[in-house]
């Protein structure tokens, strides 16, 4: 049986009267990518802060690699990498200086900053000050900083938010490489396509609680509804959309009727997205 890299038991945190995280429990296996989805204010970042030792849980326990985080912050932090949502690099320093600084803090020896920059597509810009970088370049450097100690658990908070497709793809490749290396990845994101593509399992967080946690496939099976989407030509010669729900007793008859009564131009099946499922479960969207 695979050992859990992350275990959260009844984790709770409250800012004054606002309950940010309310008795959440879950575990993430070693080498697994967990997508952590939820709208702004759902409690994702507070959860990450508790799991990375930045906040002490007010109730409940959190274990990383079998260690109680509150009692072993130093040991835990030596084994993790964190990529923050907000850019927090030393912008007056070069990329190489930024990486060397953190490599010294993690005592990574020998350390090859250039090789790491090549992995994230920044080779050749290592000696430029970070303040001259684009947002995408900064984000790639943040990811490079998060993985420089070859972390056993990698926390990524919205790593591709607002990035151009090239930068986003470069970061997704690094995430998959890290998983292949054996790292556990805790991926916080708004992007359900990204979560769907990268995650072994996804957790939906809403109003401080986890409301669903499973593989994307199982969630779609459980909450989603497959449908056939067709384009037909109407009497005026214009294209119109038609839809037929699948997996119902009437589906065969409805498909037959569609072909008999309409001139079907295209037809394909369509699965529910994670966003559809999130809305179905929580009654609200992921953004906002």
């Amino acid at each position: 049986m695979t050992q859990s890299a992350i275990v959260a038991e009844e984790l709770t945190y409250q800012y004054n009267d606002l309950v940010a995280v309310d008795h959440i429990s879950f575990s993430v296996a070693e080498g697994e990518i967990l997508g952590f989805l939820g709208p702004n204010g759902a409690g994702k970042t507070t959860t990450v802060k508790m799991l990375t030792g930045q906040l002490r849980p007010q109730q409940g326990k959190a274990y990383l690699l079998g260690l109680d985080i509150t009692k072993n912050v130093d040991k835990v932090q030596a084994e993790i990498g964190v990529c923050f949502e907000v850019t927090n690099l030393y912008e007056q320093m070069t990329a190489v200086e930024n990486l060397n600084l953190f490599a010294r803090l993690f005592d990574v020896r020998p350390f090859d900053a250039e090789a790491l920059l090549e992995r994230v597509g920044l080779l050749g810009r290592g000696h430029d000050r970070v303040e001259t970088y684009s947002k995408g370049m900064k984000q790639r450097l943040m990811v490079a900083r998060a993985i420089l100690n070859r972390p056993r658990v990698l926390f990524l908070d919205e790593p591709t938010a607002g990035l151009d497709p090239t930068s986003a793809e470069a970061i997704r490749s690094v995430i998959l490489e890290e998983r292949t290396r054996g790292a556990t990845v805790f991926l916080t994101t708004h992007d359900m396509m990204e979560a769907d593509k990268l995650s072994d399992r996804v957790a939906f967080m809403n109003q401080a609680r986890i409301v669903a946690l499973d593989t994307p496939h199982n969630l779609k099976q459980k909450y989603g509804q497959r449908a056939l989407k067709a384009k037909v030509v109407n009497r005026n010669g214009e294209l119109e959309d038609r839809g037929v729900l699948m997996d119902t007793p009437d589906t065969p008859r409805l498909v037959e009727d569609l072909f008999a009564s309409e001139k079907v131009v295209t037809i394909h099946s369509e699965e529910a997205t994670l966003e559809d499922i999130f809305i179905r479960i929580t009654g609200r969207g992921l953004v906002g």
């Binding site: 930045q54 993790i80 964190v82 927090n88 007056q92 953190f102």
Partner: protein
């Protein structure tokens, strides 16, 4: 606390400090400017002697004693003149007994009490003696038959008169120290505002490492410059260890002030806004040394009074540990309290 982390972070802080053109320029220009300021000041002193005088009876002849280079101010009591000399308002004080005229006429030798500040130069004491003689001639046409009782307020540091540049030396050294409050506060404020502190605190580096690194960076900048300045201008030629100890405690004060300002300021502009009043207030005691008599006793409530006084006594008069230990102890007390407050406020801000 991990020394490798602390050194790494302090190196980073110093690198970032000198990449901020504003701070790099004011640091270098400040040091050069203060050195120039010191060397263009006259080598010898020509100060007006400000004397306090307590005369309980009307003696019109005193009104005629105002001469060039001499400023005499009458005060209400002997206690007032003693306190004013002690506070540095007067370089010396004279207190005449109420029955001076009667006793002189009766052929007695009344006692005149003289008060001198600890650092009153010998020439000023000689001048006061000469004034008394002048007074006698004007009153009686002959030398006054009086007994003189001298009281030095604080340890007697009398010596040669101090040239203006030497009086200015503690002011410039303390200004160099205090200027670094802004630099350190900016380093701290930016670390928090740009959230780089969060990136550091998910590594094996701890909050204590970060604080220690900031302290070392602030110490290097403040103490380093002030010690270099004092070395160049000859401020370490007497009692170097005492002067360096005082500057070290002054640098700790700067670090504490930097922590406090860094905890409340949001950006470089607000750092400037908070720093300027703090620095100006803390510099007031130095002005008291540079311009004797320009400030009163309330400056003893400021921690820099004990810094400046110790630096001044040690570097200008060669005062040793036995003379300035109380100053250093009080300064260390201020340091402890302010540093503790700085850490508390900063920890709160970092949350």
């Amino acid at each position: 606390m991990n020394s490798r982390h602390v050194v790494t972070l302090a190196q980073k802080d110093l690198a970032i400090f000198f990449r901020n053109r504003f701070f790099a320029v004011i640091t270098v220009l400040g040091l050069i400017g203060f050195l120039v300021m010191y060397f263009v000041m006259p080598r010898s002193g020509d100060a007006t002697l400000k004397l306090g005088l307590y005369v309980p009876v009307e003696v019109p002849v005193f009104e005629q004693l105002q001469e060039e280079g001499l400023a005499i101010e009458r005060v209400a009591s002997e206690d007032v003149v003693r306190q004013a000399v002690s506070d540095g308002r007067f370089i010396a004080g004279i207190s005449l007994p109420a029955d001076i005229l009667a006793r002189l006429l009766a052929g007695d030798r009344p006692t005149v009490r003289l008060f001198f500040a600890a650092d009153t130069p010998q020439e000023a004491k000689d001048a006061v003696a000469a004034i008394l003689q002048e007074l006698g001639y004007r009153m009686t046409g002959r030398s006054l038959p009086i007994e003189v009782s001298e009281e030095v307020l604080g340890p007697d540091l009398a010596g040669t008169p101090l040239p203006p540049r030497v009086r200015l030396r503690p002011l410039l050294a303390v200004m160099l120290l205090m200027m670094e409050t802004m630099g350190l506060a900016t380093l701290i404020s930016e670390e928090i505002e740009r959230r780089t502190i969060h990136a550091l605190l998910v590594t094996p580096a701890t909050v204590a490492d970060v604080f220690a690194a900031k302290g070392i960076a602030g110490m290097s900048l403040a103490f380093g410059q002030a010690a270099l300045f004092m070395g160049i201008v000859g401020g370490l030629s007497q009692q170097p260890l005492v002067v360096l100890a005082a500057l070290f405690l002054g640098a700790v004060l700067v670090i504490a002030a930097g922590f406090l300002i860094g905890a409340v300021a949001k950006d470089m502009l607000s750092v400037l806004g908070w720093s300027m009043p703090v620095i100006i207030i803390l510099l007031i005691p130095s002005i008291g040394v540079a311009v004797p008599g320009s400030v009163t006793g309330w400056i003893r409530t400021l921690p820099t009074y004990y810094l400046v006084d110790a630096v001044h006594r040690a570097s200008s008069f060669g005062a040793g540990w036995e003379t300035v230990w109380q100053n250093l102890l009080i300064l260390a007390g201020f340091d402890l309290v302010l540093a503790w407050l700085g850490v508390v406020f900063l920890r709160r801000r970092m949350r």
